[in-house]
């Protein structure tokens, strides 16, 4: 095969993938509103996801806040602008760093988990067994998981952001003798409602993307144990790419409204 047709081939596969993903998404919305609702399984998924990722998100958030402040301190000092630290940190963390880092961590933690779990259920015919036993596996497995990631990601981001700002406050408290109270006062002063709304919206989409791609890859897993690994792996890769695309679009849209 010459190079041209190889490129054409992979472009074709890409388009097919996009088409299948769109179909998968439309099926999600169709089944979402059809009873019966698997409320118990949805809550179980929410609990599992929160439980598995909260510590990781908090530790990462804390370190990011810490390092971010330490790194930017010398530069701000040079311009005598250290007092701008709280507003700079809070705005950049809440608008951008918190959501994207948390989402990337969750893509690795939750997305790959979903891909591997559904993939192995597909390969070992557990999904077929569900179908035969009268439970719609798409509703029971896919809808609940996508809803759970969509709901849980904003919550995780909230915790991640809070801890990151706390980490930053700790540095300022030690290095710059700024009291926690003063620091947080400045944080809340500099934050506006218009900072919170778009970023919260964005995190819902992040969560949706993580659940959607993980479920899509797992549910359509190819036979064999190699297929499971591939499902988990490509879930992370595709989700990460998609997260940046959503982020880009979000910034674009936000600028239209608030710019």
């Amino acid at each position: 095969m010459d190079n041209n047709s190889k490129v054409a081939e992979s472009f074709k596969n890409f388009l097919i993938e996009i088409g299948e993903l769109s179909y998968f998404t439309s099926r999600f919305f169709k089944e979402l509103f059809n009873p019966p609702f698997e409320l118990k399984e949805f809550l179980r998924q929410c609990y599992n996801m929160g439980n598995r990722s909260l510590l990781l998100v908090c530790v990462t958030g804390f370190i990011i806040g810490l390092v971010f402040t330490l790194q930017s301190r010398p530069t701000l000092e040079e311009f005598g602008a250290v007092s701008w630290m709280p507003s700079m940190v809070s705005i950049s963390i809440i608008r951008e760093i918190g959501p994207i880092i948390t989402a990337l961590i969750c893509a690795g933690r939750i997305g790959s988990g979903i891909g591997a779990e559904l993939g192995s259920m597909r390969v070992t015919e557990q999904i077929d067994a569900m179908e035969v036993s009268g439970t719609n596996p798409f509703k029971y497995l896919v809808v609940t998981r996508i809803l759970a990631t969509t709901m849980m990601l904003p919550i995780l981001v909230f915790f991640g952001d809070a801890i990151a700002i706390f980490g930053s406050a700790m540095v300022e408290n030690m290095k710059g003798n700024v009291s926690y109270l003063l620091y947080f006062n400045q944080v809340f002063d500099s934050l506006q409602f218009s900072d919170l709304i778009p970023t919260t919206f964005k995190t819902f989409f992040f969560g949706f993307a993580i659940g959607l791609v993980g479920c899509y890859k797992g549910y359509n897993c190819k036979k064999g144990t190699a297929g499971v690994g591939l499902a988990a792996n490509s879930a992370v890769v595709y989700t990460s790419m998609l997260l940046f695309v959503i982020d880009f679009i979000a910034v674009f849209v936000t600028n239209i409204f608030y710019g």
Binding site: T124, E125, D128, M130, E131, V132, S133, T135
Partner: protein, 249 residues
């Protein structure tokens, strides 16, 4: 056993065709299952036995051909009708297919959550779960996870799970493959006792000649993508056709 001839079949497959791309797996497969009968289907690995049985229960869609189960053409059923029909059909998957995030008890309860038509809404599932576990002799495993079970135990729990809805028809996809001869024999005896107790009709897919000898009332050989030969074990094992002979060596 009821004589096949003077009886209406409860499962009938006519001219079933199924391909995956260029891989023509089934090209005109026919069979009928009569009430109270144990029908064994043999065929080489990859000959399409699992595909055939999945078409039968509506997990795969055939390219053409008709499949009638208890008088209903399964490819023309609404989803809820198909679900209802499936309460009458037990399916033992080739790899057991236990839900590995659930305990044995939850595995057995799972079919009861949606198939409520048959028993109504059940408040306490414990008696049903225990009865199914007693049938396979594994009452003590009720709180174990599938990962803690051996292959033979998994197969038996899977059998218990298919029995819990007390189906009229049971489809076994290679119930003894991958088990040692002694455990295989146990599973076969179990299948026979279940058949006696609930008077089920069964389709058994197997490579295992010993299993076929003990359990088959009638056999179908799936060779060259069709139902190549049909008859009792004695008749087929005495055949001179080299393709048939290969199975009974």
């Amino acid at each position: 056993m009821v004589s096949p001839m003077n009886n209406k079949p409860i499962i009938e497959i006519k001219n079933l065709r199924k391909s995956f791309g260029d891989n023509h797996v089934l090209e005109g497969f026919n069979m009928a299952l009569y009430e109270g009968e144990n029908l064994v289907i043999m065929g080489k690995s990859g000959s399409g036995k699992s595909v055939m049985i999945k078409c039968l229960i509506g997990l795969e869609e055939p390219d053409s051909g008709t499949i009638t189960v208890m008088g209903k053409n399964i490819n023309q059923l609404e989803h809820w009708e198909l679900d209802e029909l499936r309460t009458e059909i037990g399916f033992l998957f080739q790899g057991s297919a236990l839900y590995d995030s659930m305990s044995v008890r939850e595995n057995l309860e799972f079919p009861l959550r949606r198939h409520t038509k048959k028993f109504g809404i059940i408040e306490d599932t414990t008696p049903l779960v225990m009865e199914a576990l007693e049938n396979v002799g594994l009452e003590h495993a009720i709180d174990l996870m599938p990962s803690e079970l051996s292959g033979g135990m998994k197969r038996r729990i899977a059998l218990a799970r298919t029995l819990i809805l007390q189906p009229k028809i049971i489809l076994y996809d290679e119930p003894t493959t991958g088990l040692d001869p002694i455990t295989s024999k146990e599973i076969i005896l179990l299948m026979m006792s279940i058949q006696k107790k609930y008077n089920t009709s069964s389709i058994i897919i197997t490579h295992d000649v010993d299993c076929a000898r003990v359990i088959a009332n009638r056999m179908i050989l799936l060779i060259d993508n069709i139902n190549y030969a049909e008859g009792t074990f004695e008749k087929l094992s005495a055949s001179e056709d080299p393709k048939i002979k290969a199975f009974f060596k």
